[in-house]
């Protein structure tokens, strides 16, 4: 790791990451934010991204198993982790409707969560893509650096 990147500087970068959210929270003065809905959105986003990303990584685990002469333990463990996400989602949408938003049924809520996850991930991936491209667009040629 670059010697100039110290833990303190990483904390500062984390604070800069949170700065836009903090500015918008300060501007709201607590008047417009529905905190209960925010908690539900956080829980739904967390569980959906955990579950879908786990299923995606189960596929990767098959490749890993192949490279290690076909052991089943790694992908079975990962499949258990993904199934745990599904079970928790079902449990929390049925028990007391904790994760329910403005959707009529449990099935509608789960399908909405998947679409919501796709929209959110598309927004985040495009933002990260722009960050990466902008970083490299301004790369200077080597000759200029030497002088």
């Amino acid at each position: 790791m670059n010697k100039r990147i110290t833990p303190l500087r990483l904390v500062l970068a984390g604070l800069l990451f949170l700065l836009p959210t903090l500015v918008l929270v300060l501007l709201s003065k607590g008047s417009v934010y529905d905190s209960e809905r925010g908690l539900i959105r956080f829980a739904n986003a967390f569980l959906t991204s955990y579950t879908l990303a786990s299923f995606f990584l189960v596929l990767n685990m098959f490749q890993y198993s192949k490279s290690r002469r076909q052991p089943t333990a790694p992908w079975v463990s990962m499949a258990f982790a993904a199934i745990l996400g599904v079970l928790v989602t079902f449990l929390l949408t049925t028990q007391g409707s904790f994760l329910m938003e403005e959707n009529g049924s449990q099935r509608a809520q789960i399908l909405y969560n998947i679409i919501h996850f796709i929209v959110t991930s598309l927004a985040i991936i495009v933002a990260i893509g722009i960050m990466v491209l902008l970083s490299f667009v301004n790369l200077e040629p080597k000759e200029q650096n030497k002088s």
Binding site: I115, I118, V137
Partner: protein, 267 residues
């Protein structure tokens, strides 16, 4: 029931194709990868058309959003891609004179994206669905602007620490991140064409919950993935206790080395 079947066939199945195609890209054989690309393209087109084929489904609003934001996102990403590969880099793919055009495409795409919020001009892509503001637009725009300002400001600081051949980069990242933040602040102060400032402010704060939930969920999955591999690897015998490689393994290693040695034109 019939409608449910149509929605499953014309919206959810194509979406499944797109996910499956992503999974197939990790297969080593190129025929599976190509099949995955074709499947993904078919899934993408069918999902994009689902707001026409199954407009009664609430999820069809997301396909309408996808079609409407595609021109602006395409301009932004393709513009930056052209600007990057038209620069003075060893892997140059476009002539240098295309660089300003790439940057102009990025700015135009961003301006188009913002214009969609501030005005409902008939020539601009629509942000409404069934006469109201599209609920997924109220998720996408705040998430995109918030993620962009957060990531750009943090990366502007980190890039500055690395400090080689990138003296301008940090400044550009800070400026673009700040522009994004200013647009968010303006949106929570002034009404847009189809949303009030209060509605948007609530959406931005909910988008912050979404981003934190998304990053925590994906982060936890990566930790679980890493732990699973670590658990398996630690039970394997150490390198010093392994038998020497057999002829088949040596041949495989030699083939990998042969395929990766020398470098092509791009390097």
């Amino acid at each position: 029931m019939e409608n449910d079947f149509e929605v499953a066939l014309l919206l959810w199945a194509p979406l499944g194709f797109v996910f499956l195609s992503l999974g197939l890209q990790f297969r080593k054989d190129s025929s599976s990868q190509k099949f995955g690309q074709v499947l993904g393209a078919i899934g993408f087109v069918l999902f994009g058309a689902s707001f026409l084929t199954v407009p009664s489904s609430p999820s069809a609003a997301s396909s309408s959003l996808l079609v409407n934001i595609l021109p602006s996102l395409g301009l932004m990403v393709v513009g930056l891609y052209i600007a990057l590969f038209a620069g003075e880099i060893p892997v140059k793919r476009f002539p240098s004179k295309l660089r300003p055009m790439g940057l102009l495409m990025f700015v135009t795409g961003f301006a188009l994206f913002e214009a969609m919020h501030w005005t409902d001009h008939a020539l601009l892509p629509s942000t409404t669905w069934e006469g109201e503001s599209n609920r997924f637009w109220m998720i996408f725009r705040p998430t995109f602007l918030l993620a962009m300002s957060s990531f750009l400001l943090a990366s502007g600081y980190l890039v500055n620490l690395i400090g080689q051949r990138i003296s301008q980069t940090s400044k550009i990242l800070y400026i673009t991140g700040s522009v994004s933040l200013v647009l968010l602040i303006l949106s929570v102060m002034f009404d847009g064409s189809s949303t009030t400032s209060d509605e948007f402010h609530n959406s931005v704060l909910l988008a912050a919950s979404d981003i934190l939930g998304f990053l925590s969920g994906v982060g936890l999955t990566i930790i679980v993935f890493g732990l699973t591999i670590w658990q398996y690897e630690r039970k394997r015998p150490g390198l010093d206790r392994l038998p020497p490689p057999d002829q088949e393994q040596l041949n495989t290693a030699a083939e990998i080395v042969r395929n990766n040695i020398g470098g092509g034109e791009d390097e």
